[in-house]
Symmetry: C2
Subunit: 347 residues, 2 copies
């Protein structure tokens, strides 16, 4: 039952359909969403928000992790699967209630490797303060998979009435990032493409819920939007935000923190650090009066030590929907969502 690449590529799924870029949007828009047709999915937040019991609001999220190699500097697929789902909850303001874990293993995968992955899951779940409450395990033939694939679904609870939403973003609002970007994508790509090259690039994969809960407690409604820039990177997240808020966003390239080794790896591989995935970062939009306090709070936390204000929302209506990057050399570049797959199997 192996699928074949036929001569009509338009009729077939290509790797880029899974890249989180425009082709993924196309697949969702053309094939997946029309058949589901539910507002929660249409809003395209990372977690669905549900109100099953009157006033309570719950968030539900799911992601499959297919990263290759499954182990990379700074983490592995187990840590990634836990952090990815917890972070999807955190950026909609939800505290984790429980995690569901499904493994698809390939025949021949080493048990010791599975132990390594399960250890990582345990440690990451402890770090995030969440329990794995249910699970499933399947195995496919040695020629029907590629080692290990993990799907995690996380359930969270949203206290209070505050909703983080692009609709709340206004001109004047300030954009922050909690640290250097591109580390995850480039750590995985270096491990895959140049496994023998010594590099200091390490994935940033980490659970952000503790830091985000602290910020929400301290800043409340002054935080209007958050998102974790995973697939398609900071560039894709900013382009999406400008479009969905229908506002002009201006970012200063020189203010975006990037580690030297990560920039070096991006140059080596010919990749754009702004389009590279992050797994321990979040973009946050706050009201102008709260920007200073937000930065201060971030700097006090281990996962926000290198946080920075990277730009603001402008009131130029002629550029509504556009995110502009003011480059280091004084130019202007419109940030767009990558078309397809810059980095296959990166998360």
């Amino acid at each position: 039952m192996k699928t074949q690449l036929s001569s009509k590529p338009g009729d077939q799924i290509v790797l880029a359909h899974g890249g989180g870029g425009q082709l993924t949007d196309e697949l969702l828009r053309d094939i997946i969403l029309p058949r589901l047709d539910e507002p929660p999915l249409e809003t395209m937040l990372d977690s669905a928000i549900l109100s099953p019991t009157g006033n309570d609001r719950l968030a539900l999220t799911i992601d499959s992790y297919v990263v290759s190699p499954w182990k990379f500097p700074g983490g592995d697929i187990g840590r990634l699967a836990v952090c990815g789902s917890i972070n999807d909850l955190a950026v909609v303001g939800a505290r984790p209630v429980g995690l569901a874990l499904s493994l698809v293993l390939t025949e021949g995968f080493e048990k010791s490797d599975l132990e390594h992955v399960m250890d990582s899951i345990e440690h990451a779940a402890d770090e995030a303060g969440v329990n794995v409450v249910t699970g499933d395990t399947k195995v496919v033939g040695h020629d029907q998979g590629d080692g290990i694939l993990i799907t995690t679904s996380a359930l969270g609870r949203i206290s209070g009435s505050h909703t983080l939403n692009p609709d709340l973003v206004q001109p004047g609002d300030v954009l922050l990032i909690n640290g250097p970007v591109g580390d995850h994508g480039l750590a995985v790509m270096m491990a895959r493409e140049m496994p023998r090259m010594q590099t200091a690039v390490r994935s940033d994969v980490a659970p952000l819920n503790g830091l985000i809960e602290h910020l929400l407690d301290e800043l409340g409604h002054a935080i209007v939007f958050m998102r974790d820039p995973t697939r398609s990177g900071l560039a894709g997240t900013l382009a999406d935000l400008a479009r969905s808020a229908a506002l002009h966003i201006v970012i200063h390239e020189s203010d975006i923190p990037v580690r030297p080794e990560t920039r070096h790896a991006a140059d080596l591989l010919g990749l754009d650090v702004l389009e590279s995935a992050n797994e321990g970062k979040f973009l946050m939009v706050v009201r102008p009066h709260a920007a200073g306090k937000a930065l201060h709070l971030l700097h006090q936390h281990q996962l926000g030590q290198d946080a920075a204000i990277i730009g603001k929302v402008d009131d130029d209506e002629s550029l509504a929907g556009v995110c502009e990057l003011l480059t280091d050399i004084g130019g202007r570049r419109v940030l767009t969502k990558p078309y397809g797959e810059q980095l296959p199997r990166i998360c």
Copy 2:
């Protein structure tokens, strides 16, 4: 990164680890559960039960579906993924609140086939009265997967205080099944092993939540336990129940409904119909006084027309933990959970 079968099979995952039998239990016990160590997973119900907001009780379940072929008489992987998760909720007495859907597609998979699968997901979700509220899509290389793999996670709400649990089962209680067993497993195996053979065997895959909610409304606390006998079949489910309830269960083979074409297919393939997977069946244990009414209610419903009482719980303490099958020819057979994988990639 292809995994290899080495000369030390004990160190590697084998297909049978995903079979839902003893080897799966071993994998869970030795590698997975020790690292998660949470009571909800230890209880090994199909759905976790959570109380995030005081009195409310929520159920969360997750399953990955790797069935091969992805389309089979009576259904496909899309219908299977929706029904499987909804049924896992239903048997713990939970009404569905929302469904999360994650797709992992293999490069080269036909878009028209994906449309077929998404149509099935839509129809099955409509049938079950549930919405897909969030999702994810990934793609792997054409030599890194086998067409399509779906993971669904379902969130449900449990009204009232009634908990369905093996601990509630008592001597005298009556066991029912809502119809003929083995259809799903044998439909898939016939499609895989004898694709050119004409057969009337069709998968029973269907959402059971409507029927089960009706039974719970009518019978309440007289229902003490339910479980859907998927991987490892009715035999595995009965063996598990006898062990976890620590009671002696007696089943009459002649009372277990089996379609003639299914029995024929099982004979052709050399498989045991009692160990074959079901995807539209549930085993129900009721108090003796409610058995007649339960059967009557089942017979009135489309998914219970061929329901039957198949046995009862005995008070023989010397056989506590054992499920005995009284065979058609007057013999006795102890039902055991299959050791490994009778049927790989059946769900």
